[in-house]
Structures are given as C-alpha cells and as structure tokens.
C-alpha cells in the first residue's frame, strides 16, 4: 500500500515537473487590451472601424503564435465597450477597462469630448491611451500616456485648403458645419484659421447637435450666406451624408469638402452618388488607390474579405497604432507602460504607413502625434479617386 502511494506520488511529481519544463505553456500569458468608441449611434462608423482595425492586428498576433515580450509569450485579448459618443459613457467604459478588466493599454477611441473624459482615468493610472480623437486638448505635456494615431485638423486643414486655393481659385467663400462638441469646435476653429490665413472668406461657422437628422433649418441659414464651398468638417459619415443630400435638395451646387472625411466610401452610401459627387476629403486613405503602400493594400483586402466593406483611415490608423505599441513592448522587453513609453518616444517604427514619425510638439507642446503624408480624394461617379498627396507641415519639418 505504501509502495503504491509512493508510485502515485512519483507520477504526480513527474507530471508537475514535465509541465513546469514546458517553456511555451509556462510563459504563455494573456495581455488584455481595451478599446472604447462610439459603437452605436451617429458616429458608430468611427467606432466600428477602430474595433475592426484592432481585431485584424489581434488575429495576426494570436494566429502567429502570440507576442514574444522578454521571456514571455502573450496572447492578446481585446475588450471593447461602446460609449455612444457621450463623455459620461466614455468615463464609465474607461473605469470598467482600468479597474475591472485591469488593462494597461487602451488602443482606440474616437470623438474628442470622450477622449478628455477617458483621460481623467488613463493618465493618473499610467494607462497607455491611443486614439483618433480630434480634440486639440487631447494631446498635452500633462498627458504623457496619450497618443493620437491619426492626423488631426491641425495637421490637415492648412495643406487641404492650400490645395483648394491652388487648384480651384474661384472658390472664395467657405461655410463649415460641425457637431457641437470638442471635435467639432476644434475642427471648425482650425478650418477658420486656415481659411483666414490663406485669404478665403468665412461664409459660415456653424454647429449642430449630434444625432440631428433634419438639417434644413440650419442649411437655410448657411446657404443664405451664398458659400462657394460647403465643408461638412467634423461630421461623421451618416450626418455628413445627410447634410450634403439636404443641401442639394435646397439647391446648393457649389464645391463640397469633408475635412474629417475618414472614409469617403461611407458618404456615397448615405448621401447617394448625386449629392456626394465632387466631395473632397483630405483625412482619408484610399486603400485601393495609387498613393498607398503594398502593406495598406493588403490590409484593405483582409478587411474587405473579413467585413465586406472597404476600410477608411480610422481602421488603418488603429491597426498601425496597435502595431507600433506592440513593437514598442517587444523592444522594451516589458508590458510596463513606463518602459514602453520610453521606447515609444525615442525609437522609430516601421508600419503600414512606412517609417512612422511621432511629432506635434509645436502644436501640442509634446511629441505624441503620429505623422504621415495625406491623400486628398474626390468622389467621382460614385467612386473614390485620389487627386493629390500632400504633406503636413509638421512632417515636412521632421
């Protein structure tokens, strides 16, 4: 009986020893990464692209055996929460991620006001936060753990309107319409500044409440100012499409711009080919165009195959950001945010954008803005055509 017990004990010990000796199993861990965004409501197109861009990167990492950091191999688990583009909901979602799911990385958010709300939690808790929000105050020296992975209005508007001035000199009066929140206010402010600097007249600088469907009253006021060009500025695709459609119904025949036009394919769907004809968008990326790398084209094909839609710049930006942060973790040999932050602010990274530069100190007081060349596209006959590639001033300086 004693001998039997001794044998059983030895077998158990052998199994434990064998398990301990298996390095892959022993060191394989799970890194939970958070994501917040407007996954429903009028700005849902932003959140959905953020999530899908991250999902593709997570799939790549997990299918490739995981992320090797130091002596450990991490499988990535993505946890996403919807904040409906509302600041209060964003704070709740961030609290859940940081204190319930214990994440140290939040890879994705959109809509400026929600970023400010989330940063009240991420910054004091040293949680790394990457987003595509368009609020000026989202990047600041007192927010060292925050990064913007997409060009914002401060990088885009000046080169975009310089191009408009050079190529369409008859356009003199421009009207800008944005949502009435941080993203919208900052975007219109940047547009108005660029317009004045370049010698345009500001025909209107107007705002609407997110969720608005009927733009006739606002457009009646705006179109009475006889603008040559209507810029649906920071409006998300659904609302931008409705503004253009209703402007056409009210007889507007001028030029059309969409400064925050992150995915021109979406506006064709909402506004229809007629109302979206001729819309310029400088913030987008045409994954099927001539100006993009083979890596972006490959990403676009994977995305379309997986989700049945063409990705816009937000999906590409979040995929690239995920890539940069995971590269930084590997170089730091740690998932500790302070160590990763040190690498992020010193190193250069190869991404789908090409060699990525992080700058923005002149505008925000700290280098936390991803920089890359932008493509201006135009909707022609229901299709998206690249018309120019321009380089933001901050990138030129670098």
């Amino acid at each position: 009986m004693n001998r039997q017990r001794r044998h059983v004990g030895l077998v158990v010990l052998a199994i434990v020893a064998a398990l301990a000796a298996c390095p892959a199993t022993a060191a394989e861990r799970v890194l939970t990464v958070g994501l917040i965004g407007p996954l429903s409501g009028g700005a849902a197109s932003y959140g959905v692209e953020l999530q899908r861009g991250a999902e593709i990167k997570v799939d790549e990492i997990n299918k490739g055996g995981g992320l090797k950091i130091g002596g450990d191999v991490y499988k990535i688990k993505l946890v996403a929460y919807d904040h409906k583009a509302q600041a209060a909901e964003a704070a709740t979602a961030t609290n859940k991620l940081v204190f319930q799911d214990k994440v140290k990385y939040i890879m994705g958010n959109a809509v400026g006001a929600t970023c400010n709300a989330a940063q009240t939690i991420t910054e004091p808790n040293k949680v790394m936060f990457s987003f595509v929000c368009w609020g000026t105050s989202n990047l600041a020296p007192e927010k060292p753990y925050s990064f913007r992975s997409m060009l914002s209005q401060w990088e885009l508007t000046e080169p975009f309107y310089r191009w408009v001035k050079d190529t369409h000199p008859k356009i003199k009066r421009v009207a800008a319409i944005s949502p009435n929140d941080t993203s919208g206010k900052d975007t219109n402010t940047a547009i108005v500044k660029a317009l004045k600097t370049l010698g345009f007249e500001v025909a209107a600088d107007e705002y609407y409440e997110r969720g608005t469907k009927d733009f006739y009253p606002l457009l009646t006021k705006v179109l009475a100012q006889k603008p040559d060009m209507l810029d649906v500025a920071a409006a998300p695709a659904g609302e931008a499409g409705l503004i253009l459609k209703q402007a056409m119904e009210l007889g507007f025949k001028g030029a059309k711009g969409w400064t925050a036009g992150t995915n021109p394919f979406t506006i064709i769907g909402v506004a229809g080919p007629e109302a979206s004809e001729g819309v310029w968008s400088p913030a987008n990326i045409n994954v099927k165009g001539d100006h993009v790398s083979a890596a972006v084209k490959k990403f676009g094909e994977t995305y379309e195959k997986q989700y049945g839609e063409v990705p816009g710049v937000i999906a590409v930006a979040n995929y690239a950001a995920f890539d940069v942060f995971t590269q930084a973790m590997q170089r730091a040999g740690s998932v500790e945010t302070d160590k990763v932050l040190e690498v992020l602010t010193k190193d250069r990274f190869e991404t789908v954008w090409g060699p990525l530069l992080i700058g923005g100190k002149e505008t925000y007081g700290i280098d936390r803005q991803f920089l890359y060349p932008l493509v201006i596209s135009e909707v022609r006959g229901g299709k998206v055509v690249d018309v120019a590639q321009v380089v933001p001033a901050a990138l030129k300086k670098k």
Partner: protein, 286 residues
Amino acid sequence: MPIELLIQALLNGFGLAVVYILVALGLTLIFSILEIINFAHGEFYMLGGYVAYYAVAVGGLNYPATLALAALVVGATGIAAERLVFRRLRGKTLNAFIVSLGLLWVLQASAQLGFGVLDKPVPSAVSGIVRLGSLVVSRERLVVIAAAAILIAGLYAFLKFAPMGQAMRAAAQDADAAALQGVDIEQVSMLGFGIGCGLAGVAGALLAPIFAVSPTMGALPVVKAFIIIIVGGMGSLPGAVIGGLLLGAVEGVGTLFMSSAAVNVLGFLMVIAVLLARPRGLLGAG
C-alpha cells in the same frame, strides 16, 4: 431679415412637424385609451424605418406597398406588445412607464444586434425640388407631408365616424361607462395600441428615405412627440396637431436666430410655459 428666409424657415419647420405629429398621435391615442405613457414608442418608429429599408432597398418593393407593410408589421408588433405586456398594466401609469423604458432598451439593443449599428440608406422614391420664387421644397418632402396629412385626416375620420373609432373615443373618455354600454375594452385597447404603433411605423417608413435608418433613430422623434402632446394636451388629437405645428414653427424660425443647441431648448421652454399657464395643455381635457 428677408421675408423669404422667414417663410422658408416656417416651411422647413412645418414639413417635418407633420411627421412628428403622426408619431405624437399614436402616443396620445395609446395614452388616452390605456393611460400608458409608452417610452418605447420611438422604437416602433425605428421598426417602421427598418421595414422600409428591407422592403425597398433589399426587396425592391414600391413605396405605397411599403407604407402599408410598415403599418401592418409594426401595428402587429404593437398588438403583440399590448397583449403580452401592457394589457396587465392598464391604468398603472408608473409600472407601465418603467416597463416601457425596459422595452425601449430591449428593442434598441435587438435592432443593433439584428440590423447592425451603421446607418442604412433607403433609396428615394422621388427626386428633385419645387421652386416657388426663392422658396425651395424637395419633392420627396412634399410627398411625405401629403402622405402624413392624409393619414392624420384618415385617423380623425376613423375616430369620428367608424364604430370602432367611436368605441375608442368612448373608452378614452370613461372606460367603465363605455364597458357598460357594451364596448369591448380589451379589444379596443388592443386595437388602439396597434393603431398607435402602426402610425409610428408609417412615420418611420415615410422618413426612412430622407434620413436613413439606424437603431437609435427613434430617440429624437419620441422626444418631439412628447413635447407635442404635452403642449397640445395629453389625449387630445387636435391638440397634438396644433402642438406639432407650433413646435415646427418655433424650431424652424428659431434656427435663424440662435444656435442648434439653443433651439433644442426652445421646445422644452414651451413645455414649461404651457404647463405653468395651462397645466392640461392647450386642448387637453380638464
């Protein structure tokens, strides 16, 4: 300010108000018969929008048939909601209010899961604009206004002249007295709820080509509808029409002078003013 701009603003305001009146009429019809404030009413409007999307954009059905289909599908959904949930809560205003809030979230979340979160465009049946001097109205909106006006007139005629409509009015005035006169209150409640929801469904289908459809599209119309029926008087159908036109005029003209955020407040200021000066609303029963 040019007078044309003012008239254009009034036209804009009245145009959409007619559709919101349809939503408000359904809401007030349900309240008057069942004494239920249905916060999920906007979700029935949303369902009508999705019926239009699947019928027109996916199935290729024509618009008149689509409107009839939206009325039937959403009306039947309303009848199911009344039979399964609200029947037991008739007269229990607070309980029904809480349940309707729950139903709102269930229907909205179900729509997000079932239909997706992105806006879905519905092709327009008519295009082009009508110019009257410097005034501009899209043909699409004119058709919507005409259809909504016909439906409002039809509902009024039904309630005034049809035996079932008269039974509904009797039940709304005094359910016990109506029951003593042989009115089947259960049947009237069921049909009243079905017609109320059907009207919201038709409104959603009417506006689907103008605004596109999304799971959260019901939030705004139901807020407008509540403003309309509080201003017009809870349970009063003519009050709903007057309240709707008043809200349309105030919002349409208000946009010319103030920001959109301030205009949104105007409706609520109107509610406060009416409740202070005339708590039962403009045409509400005492």
